[in-house]
């Protein structure tokens, strides 16, 4: 297994500025509350294993529960799968609207968020000797990543599949054609690679999503996953005070151990587990500017107030030791 560090840096303002995020976050919370009023079910077991979930805390009145096995935490109340699919589609559309911060910094986000991910996929394909695979992008459209994938020339074909559609089709497959995979293709005629950018953070049933993806992959096929992980520095320090934690985008916040277990239990061998995040320290600084009363230990305060060189060295250490909150994982279907 390998992990990857990068010296590529970019400021928080170029990808998810806290001020801009607050408006988008407010919209997400409001729409989540509305959706939960329609129908709701309570999560009892951890998606990682079958452990019962422990109380953890609240985000703007919405309860989160904690997995005792892995430390991952999850939104306690979930909408029905159909309602969640509509909710995810709604916030995905909102991200494209002029009301959200995403549109204002679309070019910067492309350079700092999506192009490095494309390079990551490209270099992994090279290392694995995979030439022009067919790729399944698992996402709730519209996605800014789709045109980049399609225009990259790296793939023989790019299929974009709705993450909730995949789960619902898989769950219903008992009644459907057993010779088809969750993507509707003949079993065994699947794709060679699948990419899930933060999909596991927002779906109601991450385990089923992975099984559905696995069925759509050929044996030996690769899965590319990114996620925010609660074992990373800024989430570990701020906990549920971290304003980047909100439903539906972060209905699930796995620890690195949790997401590793989830993937392995779904039948993937892990080829890469990295946390190449560059923003942990800056995220805490931004929170302190927003709310100077956030309690930090003396040592934590020393770190975030340190000179630029010290902060950069610390961020580099977080990457090297898989302690940043942005995780990147490559698995191979066994």
């Amino acid at each position: 297994m390998r992990s990857i560090q990068t010296t590529h840096t970019f400021p928080l303002s170029s990808v998810k500025p806290l001020d801009g995020l607050l408006r988008y976050r407010g919209y997400c919370l409001e729409q989540t509350r509305k959706t939960l009023k329609i129908r709701r079910r309570r999560r009892e077991q951890s998606p990682v294993g079958d452990a019962s979930l422990d109380p953890f805390g609240y985000v703007d009145g919405l309860e989160y529960l904690r997995c005792p096995e892995s430390g991952s935490f999850f939104l306690a109340q979930l909408p029905s799968a159909e309602d969640l699919a509509h909710l995810l589609a709604d916030v995905s559309q909102y991200r494209k609207s002029p009301l959200a911060f995403h549109a204002d910094i679309a070019t910067l986000r492309s350079d700092s968020v999506y192009l490095p991910k494309l390079e990551w996929i490209q270099s992994t394909l090279r290392l694995q000797g995979l030439d022009r695979p067919r790729l399944m992008e698992v996402v709730t459209p519209p996605s800014d990543f789709t045109p980049l994938l399609q225009g990259s020339g790296l793939f023989a074909e790019v299929r974009t599949v709705g993450e909730m559609d995949l789960i619902m089709t898989y769950n219903a497959s008992g009644q459907l054609d057993k010779n088809k995979d969750a993507n509707g293709s003949e079993k065994g005629a699947g794709v060679e690679a699948a990419v899930l950018l933060e999909s596991l953070d927002r779906v109601d049933d991450p385990r089923t999503l992975l099984h559905a993806v696995s069925e759509s992959l050929r044996e030996g096929g690769l899965i590319f996953v990114t996620a925010l992980v609660c074992s990373g520095f800024d989430i570990a320090v701020l906990g549920l005070r971290n304003l980047y934690i909100y439903p539906p985008d972060r209905a699930n916040c796995f620890s690195l151990k949790g997401i590793e277990l989830l993937l392995m239990r779904a039948g993937f061998a892990l080829l890469e587990v990295s946390t190449p995040g560059v923003l942990d320290v800056e995220i805490i600084q931004a929170h302190l500017r927003h709310d100077p009363a956030i309690p930090l230990s003396t040592f934590e305060r020393q770190l975030v107030d340190a000179d630029e060189e010290t902060r950069a060295a610390f961020q580099s250490f977080l990457q090297e030791r898989r302690l940043s909150s942005f995780a990147r994982i490559v698995g191979r279907k066994k």
Binding site: M1, R2, S3, I4, Q5, T6, T7, H8, Q122, S123, R126, L127, G129, E320
Partner: protein, 339 residues
């Protein structure tokens, strides 16, 4: 498959463990006259030294002995089993290698593999995938340093007794680096070399500085050393569109440090970044399965009746030609480099 291991030292023990976990291996027998059967913990595995080797029972032989018996056992193994896995180096010298090569050539359906496992280490595999068409373009140069610190009992080891080993640190560790270089850029020839025996005074080189080049003139430089007080494995590869620095090496003791590969891309056209300080990615590796990979390749080659993918006779020949030429150069000079 029934396997016979000659020699139960450092390498013999590694091969024994690798073979034990291979699904195709049914039995393992160890031959090592230096082992005391009562204390070896190899009940039913160690062949008593008085017993004749029942060759007919074995499908493959693993030669993990000191270098002075390598050639003889390889030849015997080839004649009796037809399939031999031999630790590096492929003999003490060119003459030893030629004995092995002749025996192999006389057997059309043989399998002969030499243990150059370093080329299968993850940092080396990743580097090879990235050079050339892998994205970094043609290689401009390679520099490699591989060395160890010796240790208090360094002088006493068989590796430093010329009559047993055939050479010093170049033949011991340097062969791995030479194999890796040729794995990257193909056949190399010797331009110049300086060997010294400046600290250990064992009568074999404790430092080798070897300048080589490819057919296309790409320069390659090796420093193989037994006086690197910090254990070091490092390869720098300059390419047209970037560079790679492999360093650290997953080993049983961990003394070479965490294995990693730095990948940098040439960026001088992009002046947004400080000139000469391009963005880098550092790949850290946590698992070395090179031992398993090379033995699996050997066993699969036997089973499928095909040539092995790594450590072939031709690859061993290329390495031994360099060793031969470097030692010939050194013979014409004083080994301490005084003349």
């Amino acid at each position: 498959m029934n396997c016979l291991i000659f020699g139960y030292g450092y390498m013999g023990k590694i091969r024994y463990q690798v073979l034990r976990r291979h699904p195709e291996v049914q039995s393992i027998t160890v031959v090592d006259p230096a082992m005391d059967p009562s204390t070896a913990g190899l009940d039913g595995v160690l062949l008593p030294p008085t017993e004749k080797i029942p060759w007919e029972r074995f499908d493959a032989a693993f030669v993990c002995t000191p270098n002075n018996v390598t050639a003889e056992l390889c030849v015997e193994g080839l004649r009796h089993c037809g399939h031999v896995f031999c630790e590096k180096p492929p003999g003490r010298n060119w003459q030893d290698f030629c004995r092995i090569s002749e025996a192999a050539t006389a057997l059309p359906r043989h399998t002969l593999v030499f243990g150059f496992n370093h080329r299968l280490h993850p940092c080396v595999q990743a580097a090879r995938a990235l050079i050339g068409k892998g994205g970094l373009g043609d290689v401009l140069y390679i520099k490699g340093t591989y060395g160890k610190s010796g240790g208090a009992r360094y002088r006493d080891g068989w590796r430093n007794k010329r009559e047993i080993s055939g050479g010093g640190i170049l033949l011991d560790q340097g062969v791995h680096m030479l194999d890796i270089f040729q794995f990257f850029v193909g056949q190399l020839t010797v331009v110049d070399a300086v060997l010294t025996d400046s600290f250990w005074d064992c009568g074999v080189e404790d430092n080798a500085f070897v300048l080589l080049r490819t057919r296309d003139g790409v320069p390659v430089f090796l420093h193989s050393s037994a006086t690197l007080w910090k254990h070091t494995f490092r390869i720098e590869i300059g390419c047209v569109d970037g560079y790679l620095i492999a360093s650290g090496f997953l080993s049983q003791t961990g003394s070479y440090g965490r294995e990693q590969l730095v990948v940098g891309r040439r960026e001088f056209e992009d002046e947004a970044l400080a000139l000469g300080n391009p963005r880098e990615e550092i790949i850290h590796f946590d698992r070395d399965d090179s031992w398993d990979k090379e033995v699996s390749d050997f066993i699969a080659a036997i089973k499928d009746g095909r040539p092995a993918n790594h450590g072939t006779l031709d690859e061993a020949r290329s390495v031994m030609e360099i060793i031969r030429d470097v030692y010939a150069l050194a013979e014409r000079r004083d080994i301490k480099g005084k003349s």
